[in-house]
């Protein structure tokens, strides 16, 4: 089966029932996507499938045939970080870092959908991504700083 990972066509041979999370990390070497709970509760493994944020632990790889899959590796353009990634660094929105890739993708999807979110929109939009370090305030500040 084939899909597009961060703009590059990839193919995968094996059980279509495997979790997309595992195929990304173990078969395709895209270890930026992290596993937290493995039950769809924490959002650490959030990625984009055709632009929509989903938990990659809950997607069977057979379900993304022909889809555009975006992981944290697909955000920066070479060494050039996105404005959102830069804001996370500047505002101290990342501490231990396990939630950060998923948080970035959920925030990216939110800003694509709503370029001028209110603080409440951001809190609702990121409610599926748990962070045990920051207390969320710096993450929300970083996302609000990227409103256009």
């Amino acid at each position: 089966m084939r899909f597009v990972l961060n703009g590059r066509a990839v193919s995968f041979e094996g059980s279509g029932a495997r979790r997309l999370l595992d195929v990304l990390r173990e078969d395709l070497g895209a270890t930026g996507t992290k596993e937290g709970c493995g039950e769809g509760e924490c959002g650490a493994c959030s990625i984009l499938v055709d632009g929509e944020v989903v938990n990659s632990c809950l997607v069977a790889v057979g379900q993304v045939e022909g889809c555009q899959v975006t992981t944290v590796e697909g955000l920066a353009d070479g060494g050039r970080l996105t404005a959102l990634q830069q804001a996370f660094i500047e505002r101290g929105a990342a501490q231990c870092g396990i939630c950060t890739p998923g948080m970035l993708l959920a925030a990216h999807a939110l800003l694509e959908e709503n370029p001028r979110p209110s603080e409440d929109d951001v809190r609702v939009g990121l409610a599926g991504n748990l962070c045990r370090c920051t207390g969320y305030t710096k993450i929300i500040d970083a996302v609000l700083a990227c409103r256009t």
Partner: protein, 261 residues
Amino acid sequence: MPDVACLQPRDVADAVRLCHETPDARLLAGGTDLMVMLHAGSVRPRALVNLWSLAELKGIRHVDGVVEIGAAEPYTGIIGSALVAEHCPALVAASRTIGATQIQNRGTLGGNLANASPAGDTLPVLLASDAIVVTDSRTIPVAEFFTGYRTTALRDGELIVAVRFPVSARGVRFRKVGTRAAQAISKVVVAVNREPARIALGSVAEVPLRARSAEALLAQGDVEGAVAAVAADIRPIDDVRSTAAYRRAVAQNVLGDLLRD
């Protein structure tokens, strides 16, 4: 799961055929329940039948005066639908309480029904709406759908195609009580309708249920009687999320709030 195939049906008829031809096949839509069970090893199918990309199972439409929602339409589509907001606003409210964006992008009404969790957030709304479950071969009133703890009236290989909401769904009101606003499994869910009198609850028994004696009193206009009677209609238990005593008290309080204002 090295040997589990993910079969790709062309359409609903093909999916039904694959289910009948493949022993131990499981239908897979958004995966928000089934993928967790697969990974934990609590279900061990030989194959998955992927329903996610079937256009026949998507969409929200007006058919013969009723709103029909495709079984694999995700909650995000329901939340954004002007048609659902007009004809069954309680379903929009319930869909907003499910998980958060990631789960709303994948979770579906068909999956909530087939998984048949007593805590399924939309299920009391479907019961209070007198919703009709449309399968590949027949229609099932949702009041007859849940037959026991996580068991349903579906036959082997039967596939949910859509859910229909009659005109009365417009009056349904909904409240969920959980530990926090997002990513919470409910402690108590209540959905009510006045015309016809319907009181449906989740997380208070082994199935999502209608409180029949409370409904009978509500039909006579006896709100306080209905609130008192609901305590005997439900069968809550103590578990990791709450206690039977809390659930009974909160079910009565929430029902009272929904019926009095």
